[in-house]
Amino acid sequence: MRYLPLSDADRSDMLRVIGAPSIEDLFRDVPQELRLKGPIDGLPLHASEMAVERHMTALSRKNMVAGDVPFFLGCGAYRHHIPASVDHVIQRGEFLTSYTPYQPEIAQGTLQMMFEFQTQVARLFGCEVANASMYDGSTAMWEAIVMGHRITRRNKTLLSSGIHPHYVSVAKTMAKFTEDRLDIGLPDLAATTDAERLIASIDDQTSAVVVQYPDVLGRITDLTPIAEAAHAAGALLIAVVTEPVALGLIRSPGEMGADIVVGEGQSLGVGLQFGGPYVGLFACREKHVRQMPGRLAGETVDAEGKRGFVLTLSTREQHIRREKATSNICTSSVLCALAFTAHLTLLGEKGLRQLASLNHARACEAADRLATIPGVRLVNDSFFNEFTLRLPVEARPAVHAMVERGVLGGVSLGRLYPGAEKLQNGLVVAVTETASDEDIAALETALKELCA
């Protein structure tokens, strides 16, 4: 076995030192009758690297690769070009095969990178502090909601209907058990969001209002009035960002008064990966930092006075506080955070703005062209790189029909909101810098045919 260095001679030598007659003897605490005699059933025997690679390659070829076709899916996962150097960096063995940096003297690489990541996320979101990553956007949103409860000591949360339905589903699931009260609705296929409804629903029981920005249909709403209304009632505003690239072009939630901003960091550095691993972003006000979940890197000095970084404020965490911790999270998504921060460092503010402008320009171009198809209506007044079309036909079958034409043409609202009648004709189309003119033309042609 190529991964196992011990030889049989080593094994006997070691057993001699141990003073055990056999390896089996070392398992004596495991009930004899339950110990498996031979290799376990139902699994193949070991295989060569070549064989494994072939098997995995064969599996992978059964999938349609986003980069091989005109591709327009978004809704919480975005396809951007990732510089080759990002993957090089995350494959450095010293990052890839290291552990959570509990030994700071030999983990400054990870710790400094976390500190830089925290700074970038905080600035991008317009917040004072950020943590060193969560699992993903959906779990980060739930953690923000419960953090809100800890801060406000209230447990009613208003969720905008513009939040990604998977995120809503996670919150609903958790709320069943924690007995949090969630207020939720379905979105309308309209240019206006439910901001007014949310503002009207805030009361003195409200812990937080949660709004996605841009929302799942791609709409962009000013969060300021919601923040003001929430704050007036002693509630918090939690903003959710699933496409951080947008913030290169539009105002940050923090600037507009959000107290906690969470997000999905996948769109920078991480890639699609069929949904995971991704990286949750989590930022808030400095005064709330001790209620925050997740790891934090902080600056300090070493015994010689040199600057260094350590994991800090661990008294919030499970390994110190156990059942009193702010969250149960342990392993989070540091390598994805590294990919995120490396990509964002390569971009810098200038590059991020250019990337965002390019995305917006591509999306405007596509929206204009698609909206001219007879029967197709652009739902959004505002959008960044993603917008919703109302088709003259049901969108879900149209998406499948587009696959037959070799086009991955968007996400149907029928997929995201099964059974929601009023949404069945909705198609969410994301257009990033990776969409070429030919790609847009292919989508246009396909849609035209299907709507005719």
């Binding site: 605490d29 110990r35 095969t97």
Partner: protein, 522 residues
């Protein structure tokens, strides 16, 4: 000019040790590296874009006006920045990483390669299912193999890490109990449990109570039995436990728990020790998470991403979360999620996460399992246990091994700080090991052993590597026993000396602040 406060100084002070200092602060290949905010600028970029046609924005009037403050670097600077940072880390690729409970084993590079195949890496989670059959088949295959390896009935693949898996397991239990109208409120957790166990139980809305260990380092069966009752929803056992011992009373524990209508949750973080040797399903376990980033070797990456699939007993499987992959009668694969759960899986407790879980970890784990096969996985367990016992027996004369008399350990060996001279503790041994070129062991965990040192060598260490580690630790332990106070200065060769954690927590500096204009002008 921006100066790196951490390193580069225009003069060369001599340090305490009288070691030769440099004007750069560098020590040959050990290079100081400033923060990106100190070397980059908002106008610098390492990415080129085609020129943009002008067009009116449709951003709802929310165009950004202020600068964000994101420093950019050109590609050469960025590659160097991260390369230099990386070199300040220890890693499995550098040497033995004996972190007990964490299972830091070799990460095969093949697995990195397969995870990057475009057919896995460049596929969107919401693509129509006919375009992702290979991805679904991969998830399904891994799920089936995890079931075979554990002897369980169902598996939830979506949890994002071990702690998330624990949550998944407890929510299944809660849903099962609620389905029978049984609103129990207590979860029992051994003293020696990992912090995530009580934290998860609390997160899931339970009250946590502790159960003590016996002198042999196992759960005290009698104490447990005494506490069990109709208010107990579940007992969270870790097996092999965090002292590196197999819970020899496991069957009795399960029976006792089941008898009072409660469930057995098993923390499977230590599955590495028994994979292919015994099936958790045969031990009466109802739910167990598997850290793919431990037993199945997906890389830790400095703290994730991980993946925590949860295997479930027949009693709990109906409550497992959405989504999951199922095979249709026609041989194709489909996702069972909110829309079709009604028919296929009506009792699902809900959804834990957007999309389908950690696909990138599934492909790695699948390649790992295929590579080892049934025979190799058994060898994994055997060699990991052999290596740990070799360490236990090679050190028990210099370090106190509290459970050494009770028989062999499993995949990790535990020692205490008993016998160290006044003023010296586990941390001093740990930091001295850094100078010797090793990552320290897990320290001060589990809590049931004083000054605990939990050493998990894993099966991917050679005998030569273990021998060198043993020699180093013996030398350091002798010094600790002899009262060599120079240990308190360790490490001296690492990129940094010991860091002031108190300062960090007292005055938290969690983000970089740009120098004030006055400072900047200096």
């Amino acid at each position: 000019m921006t100066v790196n406060p951490s390193g580069w100084r225009p003069s060369a002070p001599a340090n305490e040790q009288g070691e030769m200092q440099t004007v750069t602060g560098n020590r040959a290949l050990m290079l100081e590296e400033p923060l990106i905010f100190e070397i980059g600028s908002v106008n610098q970029t390492g990415v080129d874009f085609a020129e943009l046609p002008d067009r009116a924005a449709r951003l709802g009037g929310l165009e950004r006006s202020r600068s964000i403050g994101l420093a950019g670097l050109s590609e050469p600077e960025a590659v160097r920045h991260y390369t230099r940072l990386s070199r300040q880390n220890y890693a499995i690729d550098l040497g033995l990483f004996p972190l007990g409970s964490c299972t830091m084993k070799h990460n095969p590079r093949l697995n990195e390669k397969v995870a990057r195949l475009p057919g896995f890496a460049d596929v969107h989670p919401l693509q129509p299912q006919e375009t992702v059959q290979g991805a679904l088949e991969a998830i399904n295959q891994l799920a089936l193999w995890l079931l075979n390896l554990t002897g369980m009935y169902g598996v939830a693949m979506s949890p994002k890490a071990g702690a998330h898996g624990e949550l998944c397991g407890l929510l299944c239990i809660r849903a099962a109990l609620e389905a029978r109208g049984d609103m129990r409120q207590v979860v029992l957790v051994p003293e020696s449990a990992h912090g995530t166990n009580p934290a998860t139980a609390a997160f899931a809305g339970y009250r946590v109570e502790s159960i003590p260990a016996n002198v042999a380092g196992r759960v005290d069966l009698e104490a447990l039995k005494a506490r069990l009752g109709p208010d107990v929803a579940a007992v969270m056992i870790t097996n092999p436990n965090t002292c590196g011992l197999f819970e020899s009373d496991m069957i009795a524990i399960s029976q006792a728990v089941h008898k009072v209508g409660a469930f057995v949750y098993c923390d499977g973080a230590n599955f590495n020790a028994i994979v292919g040797k015994v099936r958790p399903g045969d031990l009466g376990i109802d739910a167990m998470h598997i850290n793919l980033h431990k037993t199945f070797s997906t890389p830790h990456g400095g703290g994730g991403p991980g993946s925590g699939p949860v295997v479930l007993s027949e009693a709990l499987a109906p409550y497992g979360p959405l989504p999951f992959v199922a095979k249709s009668p026609d041989g194709s694969f489909k996702i069972v999620e909110e829309e079709n759960a009604g028919d296929e899986h009506p009792d699902a407790f809900g959804r834990m996460v957007a999309f389908h879980g950690q696909m990138g970890m599934f492909t790695r784990a699948l390649a790992y399992i295929l590579s080892h096969g049934a025979d190799g996985l058994k060898q994994v367990a055997e060699d990991s246990v052999l290596n740990a016992n070799y360490i236990l027996r090679s050190l028990e004369d210099v370090l106190d091994a509290p459970f050494a008399q009770c028989g062999p350990c499993m995949h990790e060996a535990i020692f205490s700080d008993k016998g160290f001279a006044e003023g010296l503790s586990t941390i001093d041994v740990a930091k001295a090991l850094i100078d010797e070129g090793f990552h320290p062991m897990t320290m001060y965990f589990p809590l049931v052993v004083h000054g605990a040192m939990l050493i998990e060598p894993t099966e991917t260490e050679s005998k030569a590597s273990l021998d060198q580690f043993i020699a180093a630790i013996r030398s350091v332990a002798e010094r600790a026993k002899a009262g060599d106070q120079s240990l308190k200065a360790a490490p001296v060769h690492a990129p940094r000396r010991r860091l002031d954690e108190t300062l960090a927590a007292r005055k938290p500096v969690l983000t970089y602040s740009d120098p004030q204009p006055a400072e900047a002008a200096e």
